[in-house]
Symmetry: C2
Subunit: 408 residues, 2 copies
Amino acid sequence: MLQAVSPLARPFPVMPRIAGVALRVARAGYKDWGRCDLTYVELAEGTAVAGVFTRNVCCSSEVEIGREAVKAGRARALVVNAGNANAFTGYRGREAVEAIMAQVAARLGCAESEVFVSSTGVIGVPLPRDKAQAGLGAAFAAPECSWEEATATIGTTDTFGKAAVASAMVGEQRVEIAGIIKGSGMIAPDMATMLGYIFTDAAVEPGFLQQCLSTANRSTFSCITVDSDTSTSDTVLAFATGKAGNAPLSGPDDAGADAFAAALHDVCRQLAQLVVRDGEGASKFIEIAVSGAASDDSARRVGLAIANSPLVKTAIAGEDANWGRVVMAVGKAGEPADRDTLSIAFGGIWAARMGLPVDDYDEAPVAEHLKGHDIAIAVDLGIGEGRATVWTCDLTHGYISINADYRS
Amino acid sequence: MLQAVSPLARPFPVMPRIAGVALRVARAGYKDWGRCDLTYVELAEGTAVAGVFTRNVCCSSEVEIGREAVKAGRARALVVNAGNANAFTGYRGREAVEAIMAQVAARLGCAESEVFVSSTGVIGVPLPRDKAQAGLGAAFAAPECSWEEATATIGTTDTFGKAAVASAMVGEQRVEIAGIIKGSGMIAPDMATMLGYIFTDAAVEPGFLQQCLSTANRSTFSCITVDSDTSTSDTVLAFATGKAGNAPLSGPDDAGADAFAAALHDVCRQLAQLVVRDGEGASKFIEIAVSGAASDDSARRVGLAIANSPLVKTAIAGEDANWGRVVMAVGKAGEPADRDTLSIAFGGIWAARMGLPVDDYDEAPVAEHLKGHDIAIAVDLGIGEGRATVWTCDLTHGYISINADYRS
């Protein structure tokens, strides 16, 4: 089923070459389609790795193995399978992942635990080992490919290629960060999961790379939602090849550490927002800024309650400044809030202040704002200093069409 | 906006007269519509009351006042306003409720705290006191009306009248229980909230009535969801007039207490399911039975995670036995679960057992089951003895049309 390109799409950026990273793609044929569906990334010796993974209890073997392997902090390769999520496939699924790890480790002469594998697609069908192995063989022999080709190959229901770049000065050395991501619904229709990969030529110790990624994750990937559903396979990995030649970053006090962390955060934020911009059926990109909460975490939970409310999402789809639904969503979040200190704005114009509708509220500019593609909602709880911003998309007939008007 | 009657509607039952309960309706004109919108119920002296209310922090003044008043356990009247929720209206909203309570108390010569008020409709507009007072005056002078008229008058976006009956033997005495309810989405479009009222002629002490209602609530009203959104005004009140003449029930060991509690539970279950059957845009009624959980509460939370998943709800709308989405929803619930002991069935046929797809799974009878209006999903977590059943409806283009293709 081909979807039209999202109206919220962004052009593919100009991407730098990252020294120590070689991209290749091949056709394993996980589905009966005429496209490449296996991505193989070879990483220079000494590459550091960090990762964040789905909290879904029913996660895939890829996630279980990756979560364990990332603790050692070293990577030599990444393999991404598209078309089969290999989730809920028991020991047979696990064996397929281990076979891929062994095949790559034999080629590179590295530990199997330095080979990271992700899979995205249908659930409940073990990844076919024969197709994976033949596909890998073809990838080994393939010429290096572009970021755009690799991005297209990890994609499933994505309607456009999603990538981001940033750079930072670490001491005298400029380092590059490039990220690619796939995902459009959390797991639908039967295939769509957020898989993100970030590559940098910076030299970064694994522990500090993990610290930077985990911190960025809290205010980026953990602050987006399309449909409140959490994939069994969501994964973001960051790889640092060290080829830029900077003095290795090992902690936040090192020269350039702040700049590197900020650039990594910027790439994460861009990638997270691109997933929302490709949300299934999305016609509006919605930024929800929550302030005045009891804590930052509380603000994030209130923001996500608003972002996940079907009534708020359908109101925005209908270009309706329905602040009553925002009040409802704040109240149901289960977080500290006080009806009588609550204020709500659309597009910078306050509709309600301190628990009461604004007397001279002029809906005309708000209505104009809601006709656009980028919608801003601000909520001030008026009880503390906590802040967070979350991003989501609206809920439209398109979402229903993609997810219901379809038989597996 | 008139909606067609839900395809899941049930006929209005034959309802008994409840001694000590007098129903009247009038037209307050809260909206510009040609229908009655104020319901006034007079209750015999000595009537006991119990209640359960929304947990939404941004609740209406009606909920705040009612939650406090129910502690005293006595009621003489109920007033329900339809067309204006009086929520998020600050002190002006509260004054309107107090004016209604004072007017009724003056007429009946009772305490103001014995007058219960509910409102449902648009948020953010204070209930107009003049319309309420004139409407009440008209209701005082009106003839008694039927259950069906009262049910229609408390309704807003409901597409059919929802009521339930049961009876029980308390000692030698037969007691009757009659309940009415309104609600179709949790709060949409700008009006729709669950308001339920249960009346019995049984003599029941307030404390035990509250105990019965709270217990029933946990496995009925707390186990339904249409769109995961929680109204600021949800209320269920139970009134016991004592006119049946039974020996008053004061605790679970009294003769007939079990029968009464079971009958009350039955009415609550029927009413809760009727709200789901009128879910906005619903084309399927879905029962989700969770077993093998760590506890009953945990089972209920897993059930609600499945019931609230847009991907599960759209799959059912599409008549797709997509058990992968059920796996995902179980995993994201944040409750104890183990992928490798999980089993899932549709219409009594197991699609997955102990973490693996069933080898000889025959999808034909499942596909046939999914074509019907009443869908059964069973999930066994395989880790404990906890059980719960929850009810929801599917997510369709109808839901989007009602909530998005509409401007306030």
